[in-house]
Amino acid sequence: MTQLTLAPVRRRISAMAWARENLFSSPFNTVLTLAALYLIWLVVPDLLDWAVFRATFTGLDRKACLGADQGACWPFVTHNLDQFIYGHYPEEERWRVDTTFILGIAGLVPLMIPRAPWKRLNALYMLGFFPLAAFVLLSGGRSGLNPVDTSYWGGFMLTLVVAVTGIVLSLPLGIVLALGRRSRLPLIRLLSVIYIEFWRGVPLVTVLFMASVMLPLFLPQGVTFDKLLRCLIGVTLFSAAYMAEVVRGGLQAIPRGQQEAASALGLGYWQSMWFIVIPQALRHVIPGIVNTFIGLFKDTTLVLVVGLFDLFGMVQFQLSDARWSTPQTPTTGYAFVAFVFWVCCFGMSRYSMSVEKRLKQGGSK
């Protein structure tokens, strides 16, 4: 009885206590809280006003968005959404992109849910079957599928292709490089250091230009390979260098005794790395790893400079479309791109936080 009547009261008190503890714990904190509230009050109403209250939601061309005091021009986005997603991928083949996407989600979601069973099989699917299936589906040319040249790929699909490839390949490559940098063999150490410092020293834009303009000059005449492939390699090699440094930080946090214990039990170098050192090292640097992933995800927009049209590139491209030329179109387009990228990056960040929390609860120190 008493418990029933007490519970809600306690909860209300705790909400106030929470605010006192977190927002007004000291004079300085109080000032910060008030400043933040003031900023929110400055920005949010105007933003809402622009994005919702004064915005146009329907319409077939620019005329819908030409009113005085006009807010966002959302029909520009909805009208071109297919292009933003698929780029110039042929319309009658777009089901292949959808299928790839569904196959990817079907593997990714259970992999991310800790309690879902068959993790090993699931990982095998994601790292073995899925990349192959995605490659066959998207580029075609076999299994009765029409070939679709990568120059037609674009939009969010291209963003995902570049980002996912980069993310999936840069982590293992980064781990190998980090181990190399700590190797006892001077030659391997030297090569790793040269690699890492080289790639960290050049801007990604330069790398992409080199991959797409310079590389063909060095290749024998007649040998060409795909521009997208060259970009993928460039992006992967580039982010692997960053990943290597993040992972190295994690490796340094693992006491020597761990590897010694593994050696004393008869485990070889690779066994002790794979089962003992790397799993612990990666746990230490999840925030850094995700940070690199997020950086890579956003850097994919740079493929625009070599003539590949990712989501940002497609939006930019459509801005020049006279049918939608209004004062509000660019702002709307960029806001849309920013929002999509933000959702993806914020999602990654939140998921990594939940993983960290779970690992802490797992009882491992």
């Binding site: 761990q258 214990a261 004393a264 039990l265 089962f275 612990q280 797992g362 009882g363 491992s364």
Partner: protein, 261 residues
């Protein structure tokens, strides 16, 4: 008092036992600093040796050379007559033969106790998983903590962690066990539970080399006490003699200091 205690009994006859570990003229340098100087030490099968000495005298380095966590620069170390060299296959054989327990336990914190125990048997000895698990449970019972099998090391007390570490080494079925100050990182009330396990191990006839400052343990189980100072073995005797009539001044000084505590 302790002298009157009977030496841990076991079925063994050291007079006819064969040499398990042979160390002859062994030296090691860190740069220009000589850590180990002309070490000669034979360990018989089933023999229990306690190594004592002041900090920095090279005790850890000596036993780490035996399972090649460190390499020696001169002289030889042979285990079962097989010389320790850079030949990796021999190193593997030695590491399977020789178990090691560290001062800091060095359990794998991201694995449960059971996983800590089964990892090496499965990976190195290619033992089927179920069999490895059964064996691990047997050893956990032997160190008296079967109920902790599914916990993580971080959830155990220091004494429990060290017992898990001993069980983990035993899971590889070693013929020799090396201990490097296994109780030095423990709170006093946990030292006994670990020493009890080690005494039990000694009684089972295990060949043991143990760096420790637990002189009660030395009296009770050691066949020989080896005293090191500045990289040299300066005394090597049965415990009765070692404690009653130390020959070297430095040994005497050390014993006075450690026994006055």
């Amino acid at each position: 008092m302790m002298d009157s205690l009977e030496k841990a009994s076991s079925v063994r006859d050291l007079a006819t036992a064969r040499v398990k570990i042979e160390i002859a003229g062994m030296s090691k340098w860190y740069g220009t600093f000589q850590v180990l100087k002309n070490i000669n030490l034979n360990v018989l099968e089933g023999e229990r040796i306690v190594i004592a000495g002041p900090s920095g005298s090279g005790k850890s380095t000596l036993i780490r050379c035996i399972n090649r966590l460190e390499t020696h620069d001169a002289g030889r170390i042979a285990i079962d007559g097989v010389d320790l060299t850079d030949d990796l296959r021999r190193v593997d054989v030695v590491r399977r033969e020789v178990g090691m327990v560290f001062q800091q336990f060095n359990l794998f914190p991201h694995m449960t106790v059971l996983e800590n125990l089964t990892l090496a048997p499965i990976l190195v000895r290619k033992m089927p998983e179920a069999e490895a698990r059964d064996m691990a449970m047997q050893y956990l019972e032997r160190v008296r903590i079967p109920e902790q099998a599914n916990k993580y090391p971080g959830q155990l007390s220091g004494g429990q962690q060290q017992r898990v570490a001993i069980a983990r080494a035993l899971c590889m079925n070693p013929h020799v066990m090396l201990f490097d100050e296994p109780t030095s990182a423990l709170d006093p009330e946990m030292i006994k539970e670990v020493l009890d396990v080690m005494i039990g191990l000694a009684e089972s006839g295990m060949t043991m080399l143990c760096v420790t400052h637990e002189m009660g343990f030395a009296r009770q189980v050691a066949d020989r006490v080896v005293f090191m100072d500045a990289g040299e073995i300066i005394e090597d005797d049965v415990p009765e003699e070692f404690f009653a009539h130390p020959k070297n001044d430095r040994t005497r000084a050390f014993l006075q200091q450690i026994l006055s505590h």
